[in-house]
Structure formats: structure tokens, C-alpha cells
Amino acid sequence: MAPKLSLRQLLVRRMLPTLTGLIIVVAIMLFTITFYFASEEISDDQQASLDGLKRDLSYLTQDTTRQLADLAANDIIINALVDVEQRDNYLPMFFRSLNLTQARDVSFALYDFSGALVIQKNWPEQLPSTLEQAWRPITLVESESYYSITEYGVLFSVPVLLNEMAEGALVMYVASLQPLLRPYPRLTEQVVTDGNNTVLFSSDLSFVEQGKLRFTQHTTQFLVGSDSFGDLKLYSISSFTSAFSSIRWLALVILAMIVGTLLINLHIISITAKQAQDTLTGLYDDIIRRVRNEEKPVSDSVPLEVLELSKIRTSFDELLTNLTEMSLSNEQFSNVIDSMGDMLLVVDNSQTVLLCNRQFDALCDTYGEGHDATIARLITKLHGKSKGELKYTDSKGEASRILWRVQPLLDENNVEKGKIYVGADVTEQKALESRIKILTSAIDEATVSIVISDIKSEGQPVIYANGAFADLTGYSREEILGGNCAMLQGKETESSSVFGLKTAIRNRIPVETTLLNYRKDGTSFFNNLILTPIQIDGEVTHYIGIQQDVTKKLQAERYLQEAKIKAEESARMKSGFLASMSHEIRTPIHGISGILQLLEKTPLNNDQQHYVSLANYSVESLSHIVNDILDFSKIEAGQMQVEAHPFSLIEEINQLENQYRLLCEQKGLSLLFNNQFPTGLRVLGDAVRYRQILTNLLGNAVKFTETGTISVTTNIVESANDQLLLRCDVKDTGIGIAREKQPGIFAVFTQEDLSTTRKFGGTGLGLSICKQLCSLMGGDISLESQKGIGSTFSFYIQLERAPEEQSNGQQNTDQVSSIKTGKLKILVVEDNEINQTIVKEHLTTHKAISAMSGVEALEALNKFKPTFDVILMDCLMPEMDGFEATRRIRNGEAGARYENVPIIALTANAMKGDREACFAAGMNDYLSKPFDVDDLLDKIEYWASVKKVPADHAS
């Protein structure tokens, strides 16, 4: 038997060889890696050196070419090519002063366009013919610069340009590249050769001499890198020893480190071994002492122990303690089994009770069967089974269910000695299970999709999903369980909704949203999602989600929305069409009306007079209808606006009275006006629209009344802030309106019935327009009527009291009509020939000249010697409209004499804003077509006189 080794000896013998081997392997790897990176670095140095050389060459060629080009652009050089006779006076001096590089022996020459030498400096007697010829086609023909670096020397040529073409060439020559590259210290030795390895440059001539470059003899001693520059080859050369000298010290360091590591390891091993040896020896001593029940000597100093050994000692101590405590009392055992919640019964094979606990006794007592009967029933019922459920009924008839489990009682040899019965009361559990079953199947069968997520678990997985969920999403329960409902979301799902959901879940609050979800098959649907938090013991642990496919509902809503937009669009288009049509219709009506007015002035016989008046009446009716349509269109298009100008209420009413007085007398009707306001009252409002309403109501009254009276009652109620409420009743004794027809009378296109339309004519728009106008003016209109007795139309509108100091904004024609203006020169600018004719015919008392467009108007104003007194300007014309023409006249394009000429706008389009546009363009007044002849003449004379008056004053 070999002598036993101590732990320490064993450790040292086993570990030292392995350790040494490992360190040697690591050392070899370190050397290899160091050598590799050192080589990389040397190769980088080589490349950097080559790049530097390339830069130098590139700088040399570019900079020299540039400097030479600068010289060639010198006007002395150019002039010398032209001034053949006398250039010898200045060119030689200029040439002598030429120098570009620090190299000596630089030669320069100037050649003319044909390549003939003009002048030279240091130019060599003979150059190889290839060098002599190579630059000429490029510099003299192509007008490009050129250089060549060869064994014969370095040559640069640049063109002398006149208007971008070569008229000559400036050429520079140096015999060798060697002096041109600066001799500064370089990373490595550098050599430049041509394609045949002839050395053109060497950074160290003692290292590589001029001549052919050969690498064969000392290849192993040198590291060589190469590159190219054009046709030139560039070499970077460094000797091996100098290249690797930098890493020599590194090898020494590594060697020292290896030896050091070896020694340190040896020391550590021996210390560790000693420590382990001491601890184990201590442990051994302790165990022996315990076994012998000796006390631990107190005097022993506690030895230094490592953690593992200390643990072994502790565990050993515990083991001893446990062994000591192994003697458990029987009583304690009984207590234990009695404290169990379940019933326990142990019987041997002869069914003698070996053990039973207190719960089993209680069962026997409670259900009154007695111990033996209970045991007998139990054993019989569960014979041959491993478990079974038994029902017990107590004296009150309450039943309990006990679930029994049977296990064999085995001895040490695994032979069955009897049986162990353990029973648990599952009555409550059963009841709960049945309840849960009902709820579960109710939810399962529900037609809305329901899912439950566990939000306390990672990823908030779905823990339940019902059948409707699968129907809705196409995902089976297996697929969604454990997953997250986010899998229903897709690329077009609204991120705001998703964010809302997440925020709600984070805050544990309920949320309802509708978002786009995707089924398993990729089809999308709008999901109305209701998430409700489930609280268990005051903490939200789950969310229940109820989902409904609302795609169809949303689609239906969208269809409705689209249908609504289409309907509105259609209505707008209709109104727009009507507005434009009305305007188109009005233009010819104006024509007819004007021509009729002219016709009336001519001598006519009675029949003709009658026909003309019939035609006039027809035109007026047509005009009235068109106006109604236009107004209505404007209202529908939202373009109707009411204005606020001061006017006298009594004047308006008097005018209407005058208008209808005659008509009523002709029909035998009496017309009464009852004005319940101060006659001097001036109000602020839209007189035109007010008159329109009243005219409409009066017109209807006259139209539908055959006998009796028409009365108009107007009163004003003043409220705060100068607000006035005007109320007006128009009462007639006409045909009246049946009660059932009254509610629709203010609707569009409504008269009482179709027979009324046939009998009385009209568009049926009048009352509708009145109602709209009233509401635009902050009021309303209503009707009281009895069929056959008469009607009362009542309307009210909001007005304001006119400011006292505000005078009439429009010109007072009465005041100026007395000023006789005599024969005026008038320029009529109008593109419609009919309108032009009408206006000119009305102006026969004056001298009228017409122009067809703004352009013609400007021409006429510039051309005609006599000065026009007034310009009538149509607004809409081709080429240049009236607004533009007016602006130009005001800017003096028609000469200074017309800068302030009165310009009266003529417009067929009485749209809101026209008036403002006219004044904004610089027009003085405004006439809406069809205009009244007297109006036209009044305005012309007024403006002519207004213009003249200051002129008279000035003179």
C-alpha cells in the first residue's frame, strides 16, 4: 500500500502541471495575437505612407497645373501672342522671372498655337520626341492642361486661352521627379517608379538608388507595400527589424508576466491546501469529541474557517440535535391527526379500527348511524375503489356529501395490512360547482362576445372567452386563451382608441370604445368594446370585455351622412344654377325693357301703343318672376344679406301708397294706411328689403281682392338701445285662405292650390321670400285668414333708430337737378350692343361715345381730344372688366384729366357686394340694370354738376 499523501501534497501535485500547461498555451496565443496586430499596424503605416505619397503627387500635379494656368492667364502672355513685333521688349523679362517650385533647373517655354516655340527659359537642348509631342494635341487642340511624369522628366503644359480656345501653350519641364517631391521625414521609405519599375523618386537615395528597382535579393528583410498613381507605381518599404522593434519589449513583458503568474499560483495553491487541511482536521477533532460527549475545550482559539467547511460543521451539529429530538410523544401525534380538517380512519384487514381522528367521530355522531354502522357502510361502499362519494343525512334531513379516498396501509415489506380512509366534506364545494356551471354555460351561450383577461399576470392574458367570441373573431378559444385581445388589432386600428383602452386599464376604470378590429381571416369589423374591471378583495385583478360588431351600424350611419351631404350639395347646385340662370335671363330682359322704353318714345298709333304697353307689362311680370327666383336662389345659397342704411319710414310708405293707389282705384278697392309712428322717424335698416316685403304683401292683397278694402297698419315699438320693432299688418277682404292650407303658405312654391296659380299667376316664391327676409331682419311673418272673408298678413322686423347727424348718404337729386349741365360728353363702356344702344338712345340730348371693353375705354380716353364729363361703366366685360378699367383710370393711365372723372357703374347683377366692389374700385355711383331712364339722366347730371361745381369755384 502506497503511503497516503496529505491534501496539500495532492493538490500541488495535481494542479501544478495543468496550470503550467495552461499558462504556456495562453502565452503562445498572446504572442500570436500581438504579432498579428503588430503586422496590421505596420501594414496600416505602409498604406498611410502610400496615401501620403499619393497626396503629395496629386498636390504636385494639381497645384503646379493651377499655378501654370494662372501664369498662362496673365495678360502679358496673351498680349505677347498678339503683339508679335514688340513682345521681345517685355516677354523675356517676364519669362526670366518665372519660377514655380523650389526645384532648381526648372524649364519654361511658351509655344504659339501651331506648336512653334515663342520663348523659353532653361529649355533643354533635346527632349525625347515622345515627351516633346505628347502634350500638343491635348493642350493646343483640346485646350486642356496636361502633365506627364516619366523617366525623362516631369512636364506640365497649360493652354493660353483667348475666348476659351488655346492660342498657345505654356510648358514647364523638370528633368526629374526627385527634386519636386519634398524631402521631409516619411513614415516609411518611399519609391516612385514608372510602369517598367524605373525609379523616378526615392525618399532615401542611399536606400534605393535611381535606376531599375529590384526587390529580389532582400525580400525577407523588408516589408513592401505598393499602390499606383496613374501610370506610376508607388512603393512603401520598411525593414523588418525596424518594423518590429516596437513590439520587442512587449515579448519581454509577456514572459515576465507568465513567470510571475506561475509563482503566484503556486503560492495560492499551497495556502488553499493548508487552509483545507486545517479545517478538515478541526472538523474531525470536533466529531470525535461529540461522539465521546466531551466538551469542546474552551481554551481553543477559533481557527480561521472557510464558508463551506463551516456549513458542513453546522449541518453536522444540526443532525446531532435532530437525532436527539427524535422521540416524539404519542399524544403529540394524536393532536396532529385531530387537528386535520379531513376525516381519517385506519382499519386493518380484519376491519378493526387502528386509528381514527376526532372529525371521523363527529361524523359518526352527527349522522346518527353509530360508529360500527358508519364504518361498515364505508367499507362496503368503497370496496375495491380508490375513492367514492357518500351522502349522509342528519336528523334534520340536511344532507352532506363526503368524498372518500382509500389508500392501502403497508408494512415494511410492502404487504397490505389494512386500509386508510380519508374523507373530505364536499357539500359546499358541490353547490358552488353547480352554481359556477350554470354561470359558465350562461356566459358560454351568450350571444355577445365576452372575454376575461387577467391583468395581474404578465401580458394580461385572456383566461376566458365564450363561444360568441369565437363566432365574432374566428379565433377558437384555444387560440385566444393565454393571448391578448390586442391580437385583434391591426394596421388601421385607431391608435387613439387603443391608447384610450390602455389608459383605462392602467387606471383600473371601465371604458367603452369603438375601434377597428380584424378577424382571424383578416377581415375587419368595427368592434364596440366595453371593458369593466372586476374587483376581488378590493383589488382589480381581471377585466371583463364585452364586444359587439357594430360595422353595419356604422355603415348605416355613414350612408345616412353621405346621403345628407349629397342632398345638401344637390340643393346648393340647384340654387347656384338658378342664380346663374336668373342672371342670364335678366340680361335679355333688360334689353327688351330698354328697347320698349325707347319704342314708347317714338310716335305710335293707338294699337301700337297698346301692344307696347302689353309687351311692357309682360316684361315687367317676367322681370318680377326672375327677381323672385334670383332672390330665392340667393337666400338658398346663403348669399342674401340685409344692409343697414338710414331711411325715412314715412317716405317709403308714401311711395308704396302712390304706387298702389292708382291700381286699387282701377279695381275699385279702397286703400288705407294707418301709420302709428312719428312722421319724422328715420330708421337704420334695409329699405329695399322692407319695401320688397311690403310690396309683395300689398301686391298679393290687390291681386286676390275683388271688392272691399286693403288696409296697412304700421306701428313702431321702441325698446332699449335704440332698438325699434316695426310691426305691420296688411289686411284685405279678398278670397282668403282655407285653414288647412295656411300652415304651408310660407313654404316654397306654394300658393293656396294649383287653381290659384292658374287664375292669379305668380311664382309662389313671394311669401317664402318674405318670410326669409323677415327672419334675416330679426323678425317673422304670420297669417290669419278665413276662406271667403279675407286675410291679414302680419310681419315684424328689427330696426334701429338712425343717428341724428347722419345725412342722406346718397346724392340729393332734387338739390342738384336745378343745376343745368347743358350738353355733356359721356363715354359709355358696355360690351352688350343692345344695352349700349339703349343707353345711347336715352342719352340723345348729350353726346355719347361707346367703348366695348375696359381696354377700348382707356384707348378712347387717351385718344379723344375733348374731355368726357361722365363715364358709364359696365362691370363685367371681356378683356378688361369695369373694376380694372376704373382702377387704371384712377391711377392716371387715361391721363391726369381723368383721374377724378365721375364714373357710374352699370351692373346687371344686383348681388350683394357689387355695390361695395364698385366703390372700392373707385367708382362714384351705381346703377342697377334695368334702370329707369330718369334715374340714369338724374345721376349723370348730378355727377356732371358735382364735378363742375368745384371747377367753377376754382375759376
Partner: protein
């Protein structure tokens, strides 16, 4: 129709290329002879143009070519020269004397060459004199004004000129300065044979007229800036500048004056500036300049019947133009008169031989020309058909057209 070929750049392949150009020129030149097939069935004869078409006096070169084309067209329409159609070959010397000499040498190789018309640049013409006489070519000068070009010392002298003569021009420029009331003038001359030719004539004329010359300054071709010299002129109390330079250098002088705010100093210019794109190069509106430029001809000013006819023909061929805006009109008129006089001489000599035609040119009794009615335009000793009494001063209008301000 006349065929024009410029030969520039490709001088290396010149001999081969020239042959090709020549063939093309001849063949294209013959093409319209279908029209005159009956009369002009003989081999064509050549008239050469050696001028700057691409460098610094392009307007002048084109004007000379157009005048020649119009004259040749009329000559061919009336039967050609002794029954031979006349064909033009134009070569571009780009203002470079070396190119000019090369062009003359090339013209010398062409058979049937009657004469060569020169261009704007005196230095080129002066450099060509040896080659012209060595090859015994007739040289017709429609523009270059250098005195030594005509007074060249060659005998026989092959140069005939319808243009300014610097010796005479000097007088006219100095007279104009005096008429303007200038007492002291500064000369700004280009550093070439032309500049020196004018230095001589201007100093002589100033001495005769008692005008003081403050200084003479030289400007190189293609000089980029003249401001340093202009500052010296500004510091002196000179009354005006007499300028002898081409368009590029003339513009450099004027632009320098703009920069130094010297536009109040009147400029009296030889006509070099009118031969190129002077107006495009100056940084000031032409009518803001106080500048008078020497001229011999203006379609409006020289109202001969021939001038009117030529203007109509010019408009018909080169497109309608205003009478004031024919570029470098002098070149058109001079070239036209020279070619017509050459035709007269050839017809009278009944020969294309240089010696015969030279003698015939010396003996033209009179010619009703475009510039004027010439009486004995040339003689054995007189080779300038125009003299100082034919010159006048003009100026530029707002559009840069030359307009005549001074009555003859």
C-alpha cells in the same frame, strides 16, 4: 448662295482637313450654280476672308463676311468674274497673328484665289505682310487701320484698303477733342502694333493742333482690370481720354471708369470698340457714357443710292433690322466696296493674275460705291481709298446702336 467654312482648332490635321474643306466648299459653292449654269459654267474662283470670327471682334468679322457675301452674290448674278462664279472661303484667325500667317499660307495653296480680305486686327495684318508678299497675294483691307499696314515698304505693294487710316484717324480724333474744348488729353492704347501706330499718329496730330498729351497708358489684350491706371488718370487734371482698343479692353477701361465714378471724363474712341460686343460687356447704360466713336460709314449717314440698295439687300438676306442696328456696319460697307472694286479691276484687266489685277486696281477711274462716290480710289502710291474727310464721329444710343451725332 455662298459657302463658308471656318477652320479653327484642328490645325494638327490641317493639310488633310484643308483639302476636305476645300472640296466641300467648292462642291457646295457649285451647287447653286444650277441657276447660272449657262453663264457660270466655268471653274469657280476663290475670294478668301481671313478674319476673327470667334475671339474678340466677332461682330466685325461677321460684318466683313456679310459685305463680301452681298457683293459676291451681286457679282455672280451679273455673270460672275470673267464668267467664273466667285466663291468665298473664310478662315478664322481669332485675332492671333500666328494663326493669320498660317491662314495666309493655306490660302496661298489654293488655286484660283483672286484676293484675300483681311479682318479687324492690325497686329494680325502686320504680321501677315511678309507672307502675303512672299506668295504675291492681293490683300484687301476692309477694317484694320494701322498706318504701317499700307505704308509697308513692299514694292510692289499688294495691300489695298477701304477703311480708316490711323495717321488720318489721329487727326480726326484730336480735332474732335479740340472741338469739344479739351485742352489736355490722356491716351489709352492697346499694347500692339495697332496701338503703337496710333501713338505715332495721335502724338503728331496733337503736336500739330497744340493739344497737350498728359500721359500715354498701355493696356494688354485680355487685361482684367485697368483701375490702377485709371486712378492715376483720375488724379491728373486731364480733360479727356482718347481710347484705342478693341471691345474687350475698351469695356475694361469703361467699367473701371464706372467703378471709380469717372464717367464725367469724356472718351474719344477709335473704332476698335465698335468691332465686337462692347455694349454687352459694359456695366453702364450706353447713353450714360460721354463717348464719341470714330466711324467711316453709317447706313443713315452715308445716304448714297448704293448704300440704300445694300441696306435693302442686307435686310432681305439677314432679316429685317433697324437702320441704326446693323452691327459693325462699316465692315459690311467696306468689304462690299472692296469686292466690287476688285471685280471692276479683274474685268478691266481681263485676268486673275495678281500683277495685272493690282495694276488695274491702281487705275480704277471712279466707282459709285456704298460709302461714297470714289474718284481714282487707289493709285501706285495711294492705297487708302478713305481719308480723314470721309471720317466722322458717332455715339451710342440707349440700345447700344451707333448713331451719328456730328454732321460730316
Amino acid at each position: 448662295m455662298v459657302t463658308i467654312r471656318y477652320t479653327v482648332r484642328l490645325f494638327v490635321k490641317l493639310s488633310a482637313f484643308m483639302r476636305l474643306v476645300f472640296l466641300i466648299s467648292i462642291s457646295l459653292g457649285l451647287f447653286p450654280n444650277v441657276t447660272y449654269a449657262d453663264e457660270l459654267s466655268k471653274e469657280p474662283v476663290i475670294i478668301g476672308i481671313d478674319a476673327d470670327f470667334s475671339a474678340v471682334a466677332i461682330d466685325g468679322g461677321i460684318a466683313i463676311r456679310r459685305g463680301t457675301e452681298l457683293a459676291v452674290e451681286m457679282i455672280n448674278q451679273s455673270g460672275g468674274l470673267l464668267g467664273h462664279p466667285l466663291v468665298i472661303i473664310a478662315k478664322d484667325h481669332r485675332g492671333n497673328p500666328a494663326r493669320g500667317i498660317h491662314n495666309i499660307n493655306t490660302f496661298a495653296t489654293i488655286d484660283n484665289l483672286v484676293a484675300v480680305l483681311g479682318g479687324v486686327h492690325t497686329p494680325v495684318a502686320l504680321a501677315e505682310l511678309d507672307t502675303i508678299h512672299e506668295n504675291n497675294l492681293l490683300y484687301l483691307g476692309p477694317w484694320a487701320a494701322g498706318t504701317p499696314l499700307v505704308d509697308n515698304g513692299f514694292s510692289p505693294n499688294n495691300v489695298f484698303r477701304v477703311s480708316l487710316r490711323d495717321a488720318e484717324a489721329g487727326k480726326v480724333l484730336i480735332d474732335h477733342a479740340k472741338k469739344r474744348g479739351l485742352k489736355r488729353v490722356t491716351l489709352v492704347l492697346e499694347r500692339t502694333g495697332w496701338g503703337r501706330s496710333n501713338e505715332a499718329s495721335l502724338t503728331q496730330a496733337a503736336r500739330d493742333a497744340g493739344l497737350f498729351i498728359d500721359a500715354i497708358h498701355w493696356i494688354n489684350w485680355q487685361q482684367k482690370s485697368f483701375e490702377d491706371t485709371l486712378k492715376i488718370i483720375q488724379a491728373s487734371d486731364t480733360d479727356g481720354i482718347i481710347l484705342v482698343a478693341n471691345a474687350p479692353e475698351g469695356a475694361v477701361v469703361v467699367n473701371g471708369m464706372v467703378t471709380l465714378d469717372m464717367l464725367s471724363v469724356p472718351i474719344i474712341s477709335h473704332w476698335g470698340i465698335a468691332s465686337g460686343n462692347f455694349i454687352e460687356r459694359i456695366a453702364v447704360k450706353p447713353d450714360n457714357l460721354d463717348i464719341a466713336v470714330l466711324q467711316t460709314f453709317h447706313f443713315e449717314h452715308n445716304d448714297t443710292s448704293q448704300a440704300k440698295m445694300l441696306f435693302e439687300a442686307y435686310k432681305a438676306k439677314y432679316g429685317a433690322t433697324d437702320i441704326n442696328s446693323v452691327p459693325a456696319a462699316v465692315g459690311v460697307a467696306h468689304a462690299y466696296d472692296l469686292v466690287q472694286m476688285l471685280a471692276i479691276a479683274v474685268k478691266s484687266a481681263n485676268s486673275f493674275d495678281t500683277n495685272n489685277v493690282r495694276t488695274a486696281l491702281e487705275n480704277i477711274a471712279s466707282y459709285h460705291g456704298v460709302v461714297k462716290h470714289y474718284e481714282q480710289p487707289f493709285s501706285a502710291s495711294q492705297r487708302d481709298a478713305l481719308l480723314s474727310h470721309d471720317y466722322f464721329m458717332a455715339s451710342f444710343d440707349a440700345s447700344g446702336n451707333i448713331i451719328v451725332t456730328e454732321p460730316n
